[in-house]
Symmetry: C2
Subunit: 435 residues, 2 copies
């Protein structure tokens, strides 16, 4: 029975993989969703976990739960080791899976521009464990500062450097500023958390570079109001224990800080280079697979590479950005293409329909672009809230997250301010160090 | 200024320490609350975290937040290394604290009756990290079973042994039974989670031994209804990788199981033996400090030892049990005694006022004793819910936990089913192994 059904293997339960799987729910195929984690993670809200506003379970949902009613689909929790396209097999660390169609949507991880040793000092923000590690670092810095008697070290403990002025960097900087300047205002006896310096280091001309310039300006101003020091045109020369060396034109400055967070770059999952090696596909500088107009790997119409690990040159133009809507639409497209081919229907090239962009700045401000519409301030923030809540996969999460936010919003409280341990992070770190 | 104020150092932000600190809020003293974690943990609900029903932040609240309005109190996040009662100092790993009165409320950890090597295999349930470790183990066992082709190994993966028939063991067994037999019923394709065996091994004559016999009977029956195999009069002879050897009278049986959870015993925090060594106090078999009728350490009226790390022979009778109400009342008593002494008022011996006991069995059943009243079934469960929600320190937690439960209750869903990493646990484990 199974042998006769068209077998689709999907690697990765992120936005791309999940949307592919859901779009296949009523197709005459057997779907196997493979992920090394047992949950789908709503990455856009990770910065809220990193700053104690939400719990991991608020932004993660078990993959089995999401796909429980989809009877043609099974979920396999496993590590993918390699690909065998000649025999149409995915090699797992402890087994293998045969496929007729393969959708690889393994996502991206933090990229350090070849300076992987910086990963040990400056964590990125891609996983639950990254988020709890950042939370641990930020909260521990305040705890240590409270007990530190040397004013120089105390100052270093209360300096937080965020590298990268994209949405993640802006959202983190805003949230850390609010955490220290508002939420924890009265929590300490020997330090004043409002003295904390939050420094956003950005190599570009303006923060939120993909947004229209007036929105970047607005975001910049809001960050400054929250007490964030924004340094544009500053490149990171080196990340060391307790300091960052930044370069502005020819001038080098050392910023002494115990907490450094990396939001400056991503690189494709290591599975992208494995898939490229197995298929002869080319990759771009970020390690992303350069795909055909139908999102497949050149020479392998049965293998789709989608989302953050794929480089899709949209209608011959610039590659599409690594954002959730691209992954979702490519996932849906891959599913549709698989079904159309089974039915011998013609297949159009993938076409991206840009729904716009959103980024928050602190507690109640945001910037948004929707088509030709631009929004700032509270209205943009409400928009951001609605869009994100709508996308949270499970009803319960939406309701609970809304409640938690309402509470946090009206009281400035962030109840998930727990310092807990590190874990899977070590593994990820090793991955990055050995990449 | 500070030098003139009476300095109270409280070690431990559990029920005992926190109630002592809060009872001193308007006293003419300076309070220093020392804990190595930055949060108060509501331990009675840990089993909900271990089974994916609640998130860690639902049952933990930052100590600074709880004590933020108490201006005579500071919170210090630090590890206590030793005591110097002659000089009235607490030695920290990185400093020291002087006191005039000291309240030691460091609690208890899992005890393995001298077989500490079992800790590596069978985790206890005392910390957030224990809970997420158990959650990881239980959920991973199902994930592995789904992919296992050897029926013998699959059976081992689907066998869960809980050692200890006290409230923690009963609550865990009930919750794991519901998780596998209800919540995850339709989640898998190759296994039937309802086939999972949940085995409760109890050395005593009946589960929930401190409760009246008819309530033990009721709890036993409800567990069996949920599909738990209850083995009374069974002692654990050995815990090995993948198996437990149990003894019933003279007969030995081996239960093959990949997941073994230890809820059979506690022992006092290692700080109890350090305090005993420093003061010459005696300890009982569980390592608890045997205190005077006023909860102080013999010969040191300025040092209180309270809660789970203290052995208090109530009015010459049996020692008080290691439960939250004892710790709370002793904390309040210690605070009152410190204030009375400052005012040269007489001090009465501590007197415990037993408010009763509660334990849940699964989703909507419980047993409760309140004075001479006994409750079972749904009424007891509502009682349990109300009592626990009332005690959750922060308003937000109460509301969110209630919502989360309502949702989980009506849908059988447990949304916090995340497999995340281990961490602080290694440290705790080393502590236990070296103790």
């Amino acid at each position: 029975m199974k042998g006769e059904t068209h077998r689709v293997v999907i690697i990765g339960g992120g936005f791309g993989g999940l949307y592919a799987a859901r779009s296949l729910s009523s197709a005459p195929v057997h779907v196997t969703m493979v992920d090394r984690r047992n949950f789908h993670l709503f990455q856009p809200l990770l910065y809220q976990v990193a700053t104690g506003g939400l719990s991991p379970a608020n932004i993660a949902a078990p993959l089995r739960r999401i796909l429980v009613r989809q009877r043609n689909t099974e979920v396999v929790m496993a590590d993918v080791a390699d690909f065998d396209p000649a025999n149409k097999k995915v090699i797992l660390h402890d087994g293998e899976l045969e496929y007729d169609s393969l959708v690889v949507a393994a996502g991206a991880e933090t990229g350090y521009f070849g300076q992987n040793q910086w990963a040990k000092i400056a964590p990125g923000l891609k996983s639950i464990e990254d988020a709890t590690e950042i939370r641990r670092k930020v909260l521990s810095a305040f705890e240590q500062a409270e007990r530190e008697t040397d004013p120089k070290i105390r100052e270093e403990l209360l300096t937080f450097v965020i590298v990268g002025g994209g949405p993640t960097g802006v959202e983190l900087a805003g949230a850390i500023a609010e955490l220290s300047h508002n939420t924890m205002k009265y929590d300490f006896r020997n330090i004043n958390p409002a003295d904390a310096r939050i420094i956003l280091v950005d190599a570009g001309e303006r923060v939120l570079a993909p947004f229209p310039p007036e929105l970047s300006k607005n975001a910049h101003d809001e960050l400054v109001k929250l007490g964030v020091e924004v340094h544009n045109h500053h490149r990171v020369g080196a990340v060391k224990e307790d300091s960052v060396i930044v370069k502005h034109e020819e001038e080098e400055t050392t910023i002494r800080a115990k907490t450094i967070i990396w939001a400056a770059g991503v690189q494709a999952s290591p599975l992208a280079s494995k898939l490229a090696a197995a298929t002869g596909a080319e990759t771009d500088r970020g390690g992303r697979i350069i795909t055909e107009p139908d999102c497949t790997v050149p020479g392998h119409p049965e293998i789709f590479a989608i989302g953050d690990m794929a480089c899709y040159k949209h209608q011959g133009e610039h590659p599409l950005p690594g954002v959730a809507p691209v992954a979702m639409q490519q996932g849906q497209y891959a599913a549709k293409t698989i079904v159309n081919r089974l039915r011998d229907k013609p297949v159009e090239p993938f076409k991206y329909n840009d729904p716009g962009s959103l980024a928050t700045i602190g507690r109640s401000k945001a910037v948004a672009v929707l088509g030709t519409w631009k929004f700032t301030g509270f209205i943009a923030w409400v928009l951001w809230l609605v869009v994100h809540l709508m996308k949270l996969i499970q009803f319960e999460s939406r309701l609970l997250v809304l409640m938690q936010w309402s509470w946090a919003y009206s009281t400035f409280n962030r109840s998930a301010r727990l310092i807990t341990g590190e874990d899977y992070r070590q593994e990820e770190l090793d991955d990055i160090l050995n990449s």
